[in-house]
């Protein structure tokens, strides 16, 4: 511990002072200060929309701050472009995966600083070789540098993003929610990597909504609220609820509210559902008032099953019945009419009409109700949208704000509001709190509790064990496209789930 304090007294590698950044109508950052120290991990926490990702973009030269100064190793620098930041040794793993699907792994790692031959021509052989070395260093030798990125799993893609950050001798490494898309094993590998970077004396900024991991790997913290820096310090001196209080402005005590809904009859029964390449023989029943958790490692095929239930992919065999009546679901429209709705995993790509206002997004599936014989009624739409967005405590300037300017968590709220407005019978939530801050997480969970209390049935796909254990009544575990186990959530131990998901007997 003594060592840690001497390091913290050493000069910061990077200092941001008085940084502000505004977008039309939004003040994303206001006079924030932040210091990153070599060999230390600083955790940046804050609610959705607090300005964390904006800060990352300022740090990596993607956005230019309206005011403020950036000092790197005691020298003032201007990060006029992403290239400049990169050349100065600031690298980042961004919140959205920002890679090139149609380029090879090696190129994804080396794009922009590829090894050159004579006449400045790119040396492909050297590039592949160096990529292999970087990947080996990260224990990811199973990824061949020559493969097209498109062919990798999402987790492996993430590793490539990390490899890119390691491919130069960086001073500062920024990670914006790097574990949101990873499964337990990969998360642990990532922690090892962070430790390695730390030991190499790099300054690390780590953004996460998961407090357990923050406490596990970070040394210092900085808290943002509404674009302002509201606190910083050493984690070892700070308790978790203090952090939460700083973040949210109030205490959040029940992240997993107990719900006491009466579990009723079977609403949905699925039997023998199969798909040629993604899953096989999936059978389960879902009861009224029940939260059914689907657990598995990332890539286990849960999303594909849910997409089939929602009519987005065509199963090759099997039946779906609701209230004992068989359902023929061939499109999302059918599913919605039957009372099944789906909050997808990738909210930007699958959940939102980016560029369109909040209220239109919320009312899209409800248009039949808000319109009169297909003629729009704007007032009805605003009323409906307001009712549900306010219930979810959406942070926005108005109902006409473009959803693409909302932070990730608030975007998720818009998607949920859209489906709540439909009063469905079955609501499928795929990774509902991925990338969502603790306050909103509690709100979403609270909502799930309310939903089942109102007699709805909920399927919750989640890769987070605490969430599964905290919320689900029953848990189904999937692995490689098959259901491997089912549990009542009574005295269920995390290890049991992990074993079932990983296939360890």
């Amino acid at each position: 511990m003594a060592q840690a304090s001497t390091i913290s007294k050493s000069a910061p590698a990077l200092t941001l002072s008085g940084i502000s950044k505004s977008f039309p109508g939004v003040r994303a950052l206001h006079q924030v200060n932040l210091s990153l120290y070599p060999g230390q991990v600083t955790a940046l926490v804050g609610e959705n929309g607090a300005g964390k990702s904006t800060l990352v973009k300022v740090l990596t030269g993607i956005y230019q701050p309206d005011e403020g100064a950036i000092t790197l190793d005691g020298k003032r620098v201007t990060l006029s472009s992403a290239q400049t930041a990169f050349e100065l040794g600031i690298t980042a793993i961004h919140q959205e995966t920002v890679l090139f699907d149609d380029l090879t792994v090696a190129e994804n790692i080396w794009l922009g600083h590829a090894p050159r031959k004579r006449f400045g021509l790119i040396d492909w052989a050297a590039m592949n070789e160096k990529a292999r070395a970087v990947l080996a260093q990260m224990h990811a030798a199973h990824i061949a540098p020559e493969t097209r990125l498109r062919e990798l799993s999402i987790a492996n893609k993430h590793l490539v993003a990390v490899a890119r950050a390691l491919s130069i001798d960086s001073r500062v490494v920024v990670m914006d929610e790097p574990t949101a898309a990873l499964s337990a094993k990969e998360i642990n590998e990532l922690y090892d990597l962070v430790a390695l970077l730390k030991s190499q004396g790099k300054a690390i900024l780590f953004i996460s909504h998961k407090f357990d991991e923050i406490y596990k790997i970070a040394d210092r913290y900085t808290v943002f609220r509404d674009g302002e820096q509201v606190g910083e310090g050493h984690l070892k001196d700070t308790a978790q609820n203090e952090l939460v209080k700083l973040m949210v402005g109030r205490s959040v005590d029940k992240v997993f509210p107990k719900h006491h809904a009466k579990i009723g009859d079977v609403v949905l029964s699925v039997s023998g559902l199969s798909h040629p390449t993604e899953f096989e023989n999936i059978s389960f029943e879902l009861h009224k008032g029940e939260i059914l958790g689907f657990y598995g490692l990332v890539g286990a095929g849960r999303t594909e099953v849910m997409k089939a239930l929602f009519g987005m992919t065509k199963p090759s065999a099997g039946t779906i019945a609701m209230d004992d009546r068989p359902l023929a679901i061939t499109s999302a429209e059918d599913a919605i009419n039957a009372g099944i709705v789906y909050v997808p995993e990738e909210r930007g790509a699958q959940g939102l009409g980016t560029g369109l206002p909040i209220f239109m997004n919320v009312t899209l599936p409800s248009l039949k109700r808000t319109s009169k014989s297909n003629v729009l009624r704007l007032k009805n739409e605003f009323d409906l949208a307001r009712r549900y967005t306010e219930r979810l405590d959406l942070r926005a300037s108005s109902l006409s704000q473009d959803v693409s300017t909302l932070s990730g968590g608030n975007q998720q709220k818009v998607v949920i509001a859209k489906w709540l407005a439909m009063s469905p019978k079955v609501i499928i939530l795929d990774e509902p709190t991925k990338g969502i801050d603790i306050g909103s997480k509690a709100a979403v969970h609270e909502f799930m509790a309310q939903l089942v209390a109102e007699g709805m049935a909920v399927i919750m796909v989640s890769s987070e064990i605490p969430e599964v254990l905290g919320m689900a009544d029953r848990v189904i575990v999937m692995r490689e496209g098959l259901v491997t186990a089912g549990f009542e959530n009574k005295n269920l131990q995390p290890e049991t789930l992990v074993r079932a998901a990983a296939g360890i007997e």
Partner: protein, 334 residues
């Protein structure tokens, strides 16, 4: 967490007033441009301010504008149809072909529209059924459809359309108000209503912005796109009736280059080529502007190609100005 502890923030409907938003809109800019050209024309040519001249002017754009209307919806939904002119030629050819069997005017109109529908459905099926990009598909079908017209008609001509058929392209509803103009305005109102006031129109914007999420929200994206291609085909058929009637004859080479002019109208009208934004009013104003420019310059005997420089510059300038202006204001604020 109990709900009393949360203070719900009230979300207003919108921040800016509807009126000020309208004043700053694209359509206002277009209207100003149209008025300016109108005034310029009235000074430049002594013949311009004349009811018949203005009436003749409308023939320069009505047929293309009738195609531009569904094209606007199609582009808003993120697709495009380059084959419209070829559809027009094929449907005109088949109308002529049908005429040889003694079909009367109403039947010929049906033939024209149905051929348009079939062609549109063919495009739509290729785009939605096989998931091919529409720009690519319609580059192929523009050769195919016109090629079929050439196969049928070769170097021949169909003429002597039945009595009454000439009304569509040459008739006047009242005084100088031509049938084509009335039809165009009626369709403009219809498409405007469809796009801006119905659930169909609303869904279009979503499809244009993000087709995947629209699908995840229960919008039947493929069916809607298919309908739009059919609609574009049908309207090309309608335009075909008008043009055939106006020319009184059919050759496979008619309506060359109409597709780019219709698309120019749509884009000039403020419809985002990337999909998801645009209005019918804008398209109507753009059609009017193109008519004013081409006919006004025609009265001065400026060669058509020189006008096209003007139209091209107008297209770029009208799209560049708001962007530059916004940037300028932003810099001033700082």
């Amino acid at each position: 967490m109990s709900s009393e502890t949360i203070q719900h923030r009230h979300l207003p409907d919108r921040l800016d007033k509807p009126l000020s938003a309208a004043l700053r809109s694209w359509e206002t800019l277009l209207a100003v441009v149209a008025v300016a050209i109108f005034i310029f024309n009235s000074f430049a040519s002594p013949h311009f301010l004349n009811a018949w001249t203005l009436s003749d002017m409308t023939f320069n754009f009505t047929e293309k504008a009738i195609i531009a209307l569904p094209m606007a919806l199609l582009i808003i939904a993120g697709e495009i149809d380059l084959s419209v002119a070829a559809i027009l030629a094929l449907s005109s050819t088949l109308m002529g072909f049908a005429m040889q069997f003694g079909l009367g005017t109403p039947a010929l109109v049906c033939v024209g529209i149905i051929v348009g529908l079939i062609c549109g459905a063919f495009n739509g099926a290729l785009v939605t059924g096989l998931g091919l990009p529409s720009i690519v598909v319609t580059i192929g079908t523009m050769s195919l459809f016109r090629g079929l017209a050439f196969i049928i008609l070769g170097d021949q001509v169909y003429k002597n359309y039945p009595d009454g058929f000439e009304y569509f392209g040459q008739g006047y509803v009242a005084w100088v108000i031509s049938f084509e103009l009335v039809l165009f305005l009626a369709f403009a109102a219809l498409f405007g209503f469809l796009l801006h006031f119905t659930t169909f129109g609303r869904r279009l914007y979503f499809i244009g912005r993000n087709p995947v999420s629209a699908q995840f929200s229960g919008v039947n994206v493929k069916r809607m796109k298919f309908i739009l291609f059919c609609l574009t085909g049908v309207m090309s058929g309608v335009a075909s009736v008008l043009l055939t009637s106006r020319l009184g004859s059919t050759r496979p080479s008619i309506a060359q280059g109409f597709e780019l002019e219709a698309i120019t109208m749509v884009v000039l009208g403020g419809v985002a080529i990337t999909g998801g934004a645009g209005s019918i009013l804008g398209v109507v104003l753009a059609a009017l502007i193109m008519g004013l420019v081409t006919f006004g310059f025609g009265l001065l005997n400026v060669p058509g190609i020189v006008m096209s420089i003007f139209v091209g510059m107008l297209l770029i300038a009208v799209i560049a100005l708001p962007i530059l202006w916004k940037r300028f204001v932003w810099v001033l604020k700082k």
